[in-house]
């Protein structure tokens, strides 16, 4: 079975107005290293395309074995005026955790 981000890390999502942030926190350093290689901004943007226009910015926090993804321009507008059911985008941590990991090289 294909591995997913959920096998290596946990996540929480929050809103930042027109953007959302989704953290990815690895359970151990091996997992962190692998996520650093595979979970690129492009990979995350592709997964989030149904809900956001992007771009995506990735920040790394090695001390915490964590990354923070800021996904810009959520579809449907900001939290306070959106038509979305999940107005804050808080459920989107699960979309991050569902991203498949294929190995060392990103899937072409």
């Amino acid at each position: 079975m294909t591995m997913t981000v959920r096998d290596l890390a946990h996540s929480r999502a929050g809103d930042k107005g027109h953007n959302i942030n989704v953290s990815v926190i690895a359970y151990d350093s091996a997992g962190y290293e692998r996520l650093l290689r595979e979970l690129s901004e492009a990979r995350v943007l592709a997964a989030f395309a149904p809900v956001a226009h992007g771009p995506v910015r990735r920040y790394t926090l090695p001390n915490l074995l964590a990354m923070n993804f800021v996904i810009e321009n959520v579809r449907g507008g900001s939290v306070t005026a959106t038509t979305a059911l999940d107005i804050h985008g808080k459920s989107l941590c699960a979309l991050m955790l569902a991203i498949p990991l294929y190995g060392n090289e990103p899937e072409v």
Binding site: N21, R75, T80, A81, L85
Partner: protein, 448 residues
């Protein structure tokens, strides 16, 4: 006398939070201060409207009940309360707190209230300011502005704390600053001591959502389990005058405090972790380390900060039309196809009737409402059609739910369980305003 150590508890992470964890903290937590954070981004705009329209006090509707639950124990033990439940009406809220104290026969009670007026007047004459979210000039929303409130900092909270009042009542204050203020005052730190402000702000950020750092919003059964979520304990921070910070929870309270829960909360609602801007400082999380020093005790170290910015962030509430919504469920064979057909019918009906929308969204709850369309998902047994439209026109917004309900007798087979709603949208964006333009004062109110 300056203190060497302070234990600050979080009594609420949002306006609708549970009551018991705060009671537990004041009764068994051995805490010095309890902070109730009850103001979401839009709450203050709503409370402003309530006050203007005369259908609410303008402060948190739960204020009296929350205070009643903890005030006797706080008074007996000298535990001080800091809260932003004052919302759009801090002064009336302070009088309400005094009334509760009188009702409970709390002696020698007084409340310090942080008074800062709505800054709409300052914004009206500055239409050129840039909206941080949309990048457009403020003037695009000025005619529809409902409220404008600056996020105040820890220095204002500390000033109110210095009065010695049992309760410090505020309106809009940056969430972490509600926690930093009591530390600033208790330890006598300089407001330019950025090493201390960094650690204090990181602690405040970890505490501001209360249960979200003790295992709330964390559980994923079988992957990361949390004990006793129905009796989740709320967190406290042990802070020293030197700026040491340890997060913990009461022994035997539900939940868990560990590196994983603290890491999730540390990055919650963060943009660039190297530049988390509060009114007090610009926090850099890059060198932060978390260490488990005892069961359910996490020490935070390494927070750094650069000097605060010259401006306050001001949250501007404005009217942005209406949101109309309708829902109807379909189940069994062909449920998804029937729900799709139903959505198409509603869309066509709204068009035939001549309504236009800034955004008209059709979701199938159970299939694509949260994460949008995706490949390879199994078809669910039942789905719930949800149509939501945003429009300048109230009639258009009302028509959404109407047309969904009309599917009962005019739409596909087997629709059930309709729901509809219409609400006025109070949107929020932000601008930056020079600090000098926001006058702040502290007033003391005594029980009647």
């Amino acid at each position: 006398m300056k203190r060497q150590r302070l234990r600050i508890g979080a009594g609420a992470g949002f306006a609708g939070d549970r009551w018991e964890p705060a009671v537990e903290l004041v009764e068994r937590g051995n805490i010095d201060v309890i902070v109730f954070e009850c103001l979401a981004e839009r709450t203050i705009a709503r409370e402003t409207l309530a006050r203007l329209r005369g259908d609410g006090p303008g402060y948190s509707p739960n204020l009296e009940d929350r205070l009643r639950a903890v005030l006797p124990a706080c008074a007996a033990k000298g535990i001080r309360i800091v809260t932003n439940m004052g919302a759009a009406a801090p002064l009336p809220a302070a009088h309400a707190a005094c009334a509760v104290a009188a009702e409970l026969d709390v002696r020698d009670f007084f409340c310090a209230v942080l008074i800062v007026d709505d800054v709409r007047d300052q914004l009206t004459v500055r239409p050129e300011l840039t909206l941080l979210e949309s990048g457009e000039p403020l003037e695009t929303i000025l005619p529809r502005m409902a409220s404008a409130n600056a996020y105040l900092g820890a220095n204002a909270v500390a000033e109110a704390m210095a009065s010695g009042a049992l309760v410090v009542m505020t309106g809009r204050v940056a969430d972490p600053s509600l926690f930093v203020g009591p530390m600033l005052q208790a330890f006598g730190w300089s407001y330019d001591d950025y090493e201390k402000l960094a650690q204090a702000t990181a602690a405040g950020h970890l505490l501001e959502c209360a249960g979200q750092v003790t295992g709330g919003y964390f559980a994923d059964p079988g992957v990361k389990d949390v004990p006793a979520l129905a009796q989740l304990g709320f967190p406290f921070a042990d802070v020293t005058a030197a700026g040491d910070v340890t997060i913990g929870k009461i022994l035997n309270a539900g939940g868990r405090v560990d590196i994983a829960t603290c890491s999730e909360q540390l990055l919650y609602e963060i943009d660039d972790p190297a530049a988390y801007i509060t009114p007090d400082c610009v926090l850099d999380m890059n060198a932060i380390s978390l260490a488990e020093v005892a069961p359910d005790r996490i020490q935070l170290s390494g927070a750094r900060a650069t000097p605060r910015t010259p401006s306050y962030k001001v949250s501007v509430g404005y009217f942005d039309g209406y949101l109309g919504e309708g829902q109807l469920s379909y189940g069994g064979p062909g449920a998804v196809a029937r729900a799709h057909l139903a959505g198409d019918i509603v869309k066509e009906r709204l068009s035939i009737r001549g309504f236009s929308f800034d955004d008209l969204r059709i979701d199938l709850i159970g299939l694509d409402s949260l994460h949008g369309p995706g490949k390879g998902r199994p078809e669910p047994y039942e789905v719930r059609l949800r149509v939501a439209g945003r429009s300048e026109s109230r009639a258009a917004a009302e028509a959404v739910g109407w047309e969904v309900a009309a599917l009962y007798t005019n739409g596909p087979s087997g629709g059930a369980g309709d729901f509809s709603s219409v609400r006025e949208i109070l949107a929020v964006q932000s601008v930056l305003l020079e600090r000098d333009l926001v006058p702040i004062s502290v007033k003391q109110i005594e029980a009647p």
